[in-house]
């Protein structure tokens, strides 16, 4: 799989770079995390496996609104969240769902997920419906709209004020599509970088989560003291 190849390439390059900072030496002022970030694929150069070109344009634009670059802290594009989403959808995401019929599309919300779709179908059909609505309402696809208009569109999706059925999508509700995409984007932002997002562990550094350190015997009883160390990742990168 694509990510595995890139990961092993990263790992090889990193192992030679990381050895030096561990000895107190830095290469041209780079920390290991900064070096890791340089080696991670750039969003511009990434070829999506699951998403088509049009879908990829939608996803990158939506991620940029979900977790924008403006304000404090890294945004979704800087941290490769769309790469994470593409890799998950190209992988086995959704293979765990029980999808035997019959389906009751009018089931009460408390009974949970009751549509006959895999996540992959949710994205394919959802993006198509949103872009169709955007073309009708704003004469362009979602990705081509300005940021303020995109935010308005997303708010309408979240409030289910866009009727997908008018665009041939009878099963999926706008809100369900929105929630699916937002949840996955947040997961990509905060998951270990091994899955393709949270590039350079930047989201963890921003919030103060130490990642996979997973050993705090000497810290647990130090109450109300800010933990001083940065994160490590499953690959052993340090931020």
């Amino acid at each position: 799989m694509l990510l595995n190849k890139q990961t092993s390439r990263r790992k090889f390059l990193l192992s030679s770079l990381i050895a030096l900072p561990a000895l107190g030496v830095t290469i041209k002022g780079l920390t290991a995390a900064a070096a890791a970030e340089m080696i991670a694929p750039s969003l511009e150069g990434y070829s999506p496996t699951f998403f088509s070109a049009a879908e990829w344009a939608f996803i990158t634009a939506a991620c940029d609104r979900f977790i924008p670059a403006n304000g404090r802290g890294p945004g979704a594009l800087e941290t490769n969240v769309p790469v994470f989403m593409d890799q998950q959808l190209a992988g086995d995401l959704g293979s765990e769902i029980y999808l035997e019929g019959p389906f009751d599309l009018k089931a009460p919300a408390e009974l949970g997920y009751q549509i006959p779709y895999t996540p992959q179908e949710i994205y394919r059909n959802g993006i198509k419906a949103v872009d169709a609505w955007c073309k009708q309402t704003h004469r362009d696809t979602f990705a081509a709209l300005d940021a303020a208009t995109q935010n308005d569109v997303l708010k309408k999706l979240q409030a289910s004020e866009v009727n997908f059925a008018e665009f041939g999508e009878e099963v999926l509700k706008a809100k369900a599509f929105f929630n699916e995409a937002l949840a996955l984007a947040k997961q990509g932002y905060l998951a270990d970088p091994i899955y393709g997002g949270n590039k350079g562990m930047k989201a963890w550094i921003a919030i103060g989560f130490p990642g996979a350190r997973a050993s705090y015997l000497e810290w647990v009883a130090q109450h109300n003291v800010k933990y001083p160390l940065g994160p490590v990742s499953l690959n052993g990168d340090r931020g």
Binding site: E96, L182, R213, A214, Y227
Partner: protein, 589 residues
């Protein structure tokens, strides 16, 4: 695909989690040839070597070591007049699979029920005036006394290296422990885990308001421990990956750390994985089982002959196998006859999240069981009879993990955009929670049976749950909400947000509560109202034993594992001492 017949064994154990591993080792120690059949994968300590489990996305989000809904779904409905729908994704509960079962990924809170919880029906009949409790409530006593079960609770505490403060030692109340706990014959094997900031804050406020907090009793061990089977459990390093994760430090008592190492060394024990038991096969007279049939990983249908069958799967796996195999009469809620499926109960939770801009909780530096709780609101210890409801709650401030996906943010924080991103930076690590975990009574209309429509990948009907919140449980929630929010206010947070059930709430299968589903094949004094006798032996098929949460006639406020371990050991002892000498019903109906 072929039909295969295995060599006969003395005991076949279906499922290799807590109850399966305990039964296996106890019966193998008696010299019996024991074979366990586990539907999931093998899981060894090498699979959990650092840093593999330190991965929230794989374990916490994608449920890496749980059964998939595709293989293990149930159907759910709120009442017997509606159509049940499948749990297509997990939400309210997440059952395990594989060697270790739910015992591999549990949080490790190992607390006993109280003596009143064990005799709840007797207490209710004495303390509540007729007509106070709902007419359709069907609570029962456990069919044993505190004194009979205490040695087995004690043994399981030692198997797990229970860490915490003793509250009642042989009738003497001990400072720092739970004054409401039943008398224990021995102190806790190990001292309590270290408190985190939320624990100290909560305990101080609760004590000030007159409650009796104590550290969550923990099976994440505080010091190195060698248990009665000779297994060694290592001191917890507060890694922050516990509930839903296998332990990366050999510190959480689990079938792997506490039982399997010793069990695997026994020549008269073996186990098969990817062995999905489809049915218990009965002799023509229906009075005894002759073994079980399972599907192996290659799709072969395998018959495993055995003299004794132990159903040691999760609660609903056991009940479903009984229904699929014709063991005991299925429950009918209309005529209120039959026993298999009755008294299904769950639990509710809720809580308030407190935000403190200037406090660092370092939520990632924690054990799964880290927390403080109090048991003041448990049956017999508060004024339930005049309030008009029964049941209790653990009220606690636990800090099970600090993994960031799903971080709670203050009210008014946007759920996406710049506001969410900056909210995460401002509030991650700056909140604590005060929570409730409640008991849940059993009712005439709450039960499990076989679904008429939906099937699993092996073509067998799914188990159907009929359950919803009742007035008793919802009133209890309202009462607890007041207590929790009084403690919250005592702590003066910058803000807080709450999540409790309202009086018109219905059971929501999308929101995680806990995987403490109980009942359905309950233990009792009478074959008219219980599927199992006090030794977890089927009243109808005497060589079938069914240990697990399925045996609880209702759910108490304590976590179920301590009692599940104890009744399993109690049953194993009865098999060894009584059943082997004289196979037949251990209790005369």
């Amino acid at each position: 695909m072929a039909n295969i017949t295995n060599d006969e064994v003395d005991v076949v154990v279906v499922g290799l989690g807590w109850t399966g591993s305990l039964m296996s080792i106890e019966l193998a120690q008696a010299g019996l040839k024991v074979r366990a059949l586990e539907r999931g994968e093998d899981r060894n300590n090498a699979d959990f070597a650092y840093p593999k489990p330190a991965d929230q996305y794989a374990y916490g989000v994608r449920n890496k070591i749980m059964v998939t809904p595709k293989d293990g779904a149930l159907t759910v409905r709120h009442n017997m007049h509606s159509t049940a729908l499948p749990t297509r994704k997990w939400g309210a509960f997440v059952p395990g699979t594989g060697v270790g079962g739910s015992g591999l990924h549990w949080t490790g809170v190992l607390i006993r029920p109280t003596p009143t919880d064990i005799k709840l029906k007797t207490y209710a009949d004495q303390a509540y005036k007729p007509g106070i409790l709902q007419e359709d409530m069907r609570i029962g006593d456990f069919p044993f006394t505190w004194e009979e079960m205490e040695p087995y609770l004690d043994k399981f505490d030692k198997i797990c290296g229970l860490s915490g403060n003793t509250g009642n030692l042989r009738g003497e109340i001990q400072e720092g422990g739970d004054p409401f706990e039943g008398p224990r014959s021995n102190p806790y094997p190990l001292p309590a885990l270290k408190d985190t900031l939320n624990c100290s804050m909560f305990a101080e406020a609760a004590r000030k308001l007159g409650y009796h907090p104590f550290p969550n009793p923990s099976a994440n061990v505080s010091q190195a421990w060698t248990n009665p089977y000779g297994n060694q459990i290592a001191p917890c390093n507060y890694c922050g990956y516990c509930s839903k994760y296998p332990c990366l430090n050999y510190s959480k008592a689990s079938p792997q750390t506490a039982v399997m190492d010793a069990l695997k060394r026994m020549d008269n024990f073996d186990y098969r994985v990817n062995a999905n038991v489809l049915k218990v096969e009965l002799h023509p007279d229906g009075k005894t089982a002759r073994g079980v049939t399972y599907a192996d990983a290659d799709g072969n249908i395998v018959f495993q002959p055995a003299k004794i069958v132990v159903l040691a799967g999760f609660q609903f796996v056991n009940v479903r196998l009984m229904l699929l195999s014709g063991i005991g009469k299925p429950y009918d809620p209309i005529t209120e006859t039959g026993v298999v499926g009755r008294n299904y109960a769950y639990l509710s939770n809720g809580g308030t999240t407190l935000f403190f801009k200037d406090k660092h909780f370092n939520p990632f530096a924690t054990a799964g069981a880290t927390g403080q709780m109090f048991n003041d609101v448990s049956p017999g210890n508060y004024d339930g009879p005049s309030l008009g409801f029964i049941g209790g709650a653990k009220i606690h401030s636990s800090q099970a993990t600090g993994t960031p996906i799903g971080t709670a943010l203050p009210k008014g924080t946007p759920d996406w955009g710049q506001g969410w991103k900056e909210g995460m930076q401002d509030w991650y690590g700056h909140s604590m929670k005060i929570s409730i975990s409640t008991g849940c009574m059993s009712y005439r209309g709450h039960y499990v049976d076989l679904d008429p429509t939906y099937k699993d990948p092996w073509g067998q009907p799914l188990l159907r749950i009929t359950f919803d919140w009742k007035e008793n449980e919802l009133k209890l929630q309202q009462y607890l909400r007041t207590i929790v929010n009084n403690i919250a206010q005592e702590l003066s947070p910058d803000s807080y947000s709450e999540s409790f059930l309202s009086m018109d709430s219905h059971w929501d299968i999308t929101k995680y509560v806990s995987t403490h589903n109980v009942g359905g094949a309950v233990m009792g004094e009478s074959p008219e109202t219980s599927a199992l006798n006090r030794y977890l032996q089927s009243w109808d098929v005497h060589n079938v034993f069914v240990p697990g949460g399925n045996a609880f006639p209702q759910n108490f406020q304590a976590n179920p594992t301590a009692l599940i371990g104890a009744i399993t050991l109690f049953s194993a002892q009865a098999i060894k001492e009584q059943y082997l000498k004289n196979p037949g019903p251990l209790v005369q109906a």
